[in-house]
Each structure stands twice: as C-alpha cells, then as structure tokens.
Amino acid sequence: MNGRTLRGKVAVAGIGETTYYKHGQAPDPEFKLALMAILRAAEDAGIDPREIDGFASYSNDRNDPSRLAAALGIRELRFANMQWGGGGGGGAAAVGNAAAAVATGMADCVVVFRALAQGQFARFGQGPRARTIDGDMAFQAPYGLMSPGQRYAMKVMRFMHDHGVRQEALRAIAMASYHHAQANPRAVMNGRPLTEADYDASRWIVEPFHLFDCCMENDGAAALILVPAERAKDLPHKPSYLLSAVTGSDYRCAAPSHNAPNYASASFASVAPHLYEMAQLGPGDVDVLQSYENFTGGVLMSLVEHGFFPPEEANDFLKPENLYAPGGRLPLNTSGGNLAECYMHGLELQLEAVRQIRGDSTAQVPDVDVSMVIAGPMVTPVSSCIFGSEATL
C-alpha cells in the first residue's frame, strides 16, 4: 500500500441525535431537527458549535450547509460536501469525505449529519405519481416495479436461488435488529419485540421480503463530529478513530434495465477489499458490525461481500444466536438499526458504531476495538467504514 491513507488520522469526538419518531410524527421541522442533532453532537464532543467549520451529508439532504452555518453562527465555513447518490449507500462515504477534509487540513471540525421529516416532505417507499415517465424508469414503472423494495427484491431472489439461502437467514437478520432494540430506549420499536412466529406470519411486501425484512421510515436527525486524531485525545470521550472509509461500485453496476453483470450483489464486491486494505484488518478482526438494512437481503449480500462468510454458509451463519450481543459470533445492528431503532438513513448506525468503541451501547459487546459500518447495500455508490479504539493504531 502507498502512503495515502485515512487510517488513524481523524476521530469521532461527538455524536448526537434527536428523539426518533415514526414518519410524519416529528413535532419539529426538518431543519430544526438537523440543528438539534448537530448541537447535541457538539455538546457531546465538548466543542463550541461555533468551532464547526464543515458539513458533509449524503442522499441530497435538504438542509443547506450555508443556512446551517448562518443559523448556528459559525465563524468560518471551510468545507461543504454532498456525496452523490440518492440513498443510504452514501452514509460511510460522507464520513470518509469529512475525514478526508480533516486529514488534509481543509477543515478542522466537520459535522456529518442527516435529517429527515417525511411528514414535511415525501416518503421514499412510494411510486412515481407523474402521468408519463421516461429514461430507465420507463422500462420499470409501467410493470409495477417502482419502490426501492421492488427494485432490489429480484437481486436477492437470484442470490438466494444461486446459493440455496433460506428465508430463515433473512429472518435472523430481522430478529437481531428487533432483539437489540428492546434494550434501546431511543428505538422506535422499543417495547415491540419480534418473534420468529410474528415474522413468519407477517404479510409479504414483495417476495422474498416480508414486512419485517423492510426498514421503517422515520423522522429525526443524527450527527457526528470529526476532528484530527491528536485533538480528539483531549476531548471528554474516548476517541473512535477512523481506520478506513471507502465508496464505489463494481463494473457496470448501474447498467440500465437491471443489466448489471454482477446482478445478485449488494455492490460491495470491489469496494470491500479496499476497506480492509486501508484499515490493515480483515473481517475476522471485526468485533461488532452495523450493516444497513434497507432490506434484510441486502445485509445478507453485504456480509458475504465483506468476507464474513461464503454464500454457501449463509444458512449456518445467519442464526439469531450468532448475531446477538454480547456473545454472538458477529453482533449485528446492536442499536436496532434501520429496522427497529430508526431509519435515519443509516447515520444512526455510525453513531452506534462509535458507542460500541466507547463502551456505552445499550447492547454493548465487551472490549470492542474494531467497530465496522456497512452503509446502504445496492444503493450505489455504496460505502463502508471501520472505526477503531486507540489500541488499533
């Protein structure tokens, strides 16, 4: 590897989020939610919010960085970055973009944030309402292929067919999120446990996805603050050092009309090797994993493509006991994730990865040194990142 790396140069100093709400139920407008999450992250970091000098987000977040800077009375804005792409695939990339700015001296204190108020704005899981449609969607929408779930179900169906993956493997992923949410008072599904029988009896949304294979849609905001590694050491919390962050997709992944050569894929095949190369770690070193569940089938393929198990072992690996904190082989989505904590477009997963390093998750895994996040699978460009404790440096 050459000398160009983010490894260990930047750390998360603070995290913050609003109350998480069911979609359309936030009492505050989206911009105010964003401000609240950013201020909480600054308070958590012990940093005066006026010191923030950059913003990074993804999925065309509507909360403009110049408006944020003016509203917060920020002295000087030095970095404003939007990761291209229309979904949660950019969550770890936004962290990487912010970290790149901090590591190279473009900025000193960059906030990564995401805010959603779907009562104020449109929901994701609805089809287009236009009278006519053109481009790639013209080959899809007239056939009733419109929502993200419908767009991705055929990838998962083919993957399950190719490798003999059973529905129980998807169920285990849903069980892990709901199990962990029961310990998390922030979680929208806290107090709403899920049994295997509940899962099996739940209605199909689009085969192979039951209701509980699909993420929620929520209102709220989340934010984290990145500073240079040396500064993080002097701040109140144990730093979470960014060991690696990568983004991208493989060959002709977005070929129109579902013509991606590597079709049955979460789109991490080319991305994941770069993740481990920069981190100088392998999947066996990961203590705890947050993996974006737009749909459980995306988690299945994400885990395979990040090398946690070969596809032929999916049925054996993806069992609830292997995925539960604290003692499972690979504790997964320990806050409840997009299925059961909050669909904050996966930024809540980044916050949880930091909590696991700090040791204050509500489903804490003992002695976490390596805490990994995989952002939205299939939503290209995809991204993933790894945080480490000081011991990993």
Binding site: D134, Q140, Y143, G144, M146, V206, E207, P256, H258
Partner: protein, 150 residues
C-alpha cells in the same frame, strides 16, 4: 400477439426521453416488434439503450429486431401496492428475462398468467405485446409468458 392488460390502468405512461434515446424501442413495440441495440463495430448487444457501446466505446450503435424469446433470470411477486392504481390489486409478478440470442441482455416485464404461480428461474418465456391504444400517447408494453422448455 396482443394481450389484455396485466395491470390496471393509471400507472405512468412510458415515453421516449426528450433526447430520443429509446424511441426506436417504443416505436417497435407499437408494431409488435422487439428492437434493441447492437454495436456495429464490436458486435456487443446492449440493453437498456445508451449513446455509446459500453464494450468498445464506439458511437456506431444500431438497432436490430430480435426474437422475443428468453429465460427467466430472476423474479419477484409484489403484494404491497406503492401506487394508487395498484390499490386492491395484487399480487402480481415482475420478471427479469435474459435473451440468449442477444448476448443475454435482460429485459423487465410481467409474467402473464396466475399471479400466484410458481416461477422457476431459468424457465423459457416468450414476448407478448400488450397494447395500450387509448392512452395519450398510446404505448405497447412487452410482457412475457411461459412456454414449453423443450
């Protein structure tokens, strides 16, 4: 052959882009024909349409008529409606069909017949042209139905 409509009316009407990229396809379906792209220089089949060949980067792309015969590459059965036109309608089946005679390019359609039928990946299908003559503008969808595998 033509067919009655598989899904209710009211879904978005497909039209060519304002740069006309997919116009030969949509004009072909109105005649009951399936037209897709092939590179004149390197012979690579390409679908959906693009202005350049992804294999050799030639702009010399031609449209050729192909036989509407394929195999099911993947599928899904949709139960939850995400569009008002589909409320109270369901389930329905979407298939991804690959065309072995055209470089295994893939096309999306509905699988005609019982919406609760079993859908074997790899099964042979043929194109069925579904005309929507009373919309503005009129259009024709390419649908698929299972045929004898032999």
């Amino acid at each position: 052959m033509t067919a009655p409509h598989y899904l209710p009316e009211g879904l978005p009407i497909p039209v060519p882009e304002n740069d006309g990229l997919s116009r030969p396809y949509w004009e072909g379906t109105r005649r009951g024909e399936l037209w897709i792209q092939k590179c004149k220089d390197c012979g690579t089949w390409q679908w959906g349409p693009e202005w350049i060949c992804h294999s050799c980067r030639s702009f010399e792309i031609e449209w050729l008529q192909v036989e509407g015969k394929g195999r099911i590459f993947s599928w899904e059965r949709v139960w939850h409606p995400v569009h008002p036109a589909l409320k109270e309608h369901g389930p329905y089946i979407v298939v991804l069909v690959e065309l072995p005679a055209a470089g295994n390019v893939r096309m999306i359609g509905n699988l005609l017949g019982d919406p609760r039928q079993e859908v074997p990946i790899g099964a042979a299908v043929e194109a069925v042209f579904e005309s929507h003559d009373d919309t503005d503008p009129p259009y024709t969808l390419v649908q698929w139905r299972r045929v004898d595998d032999s």
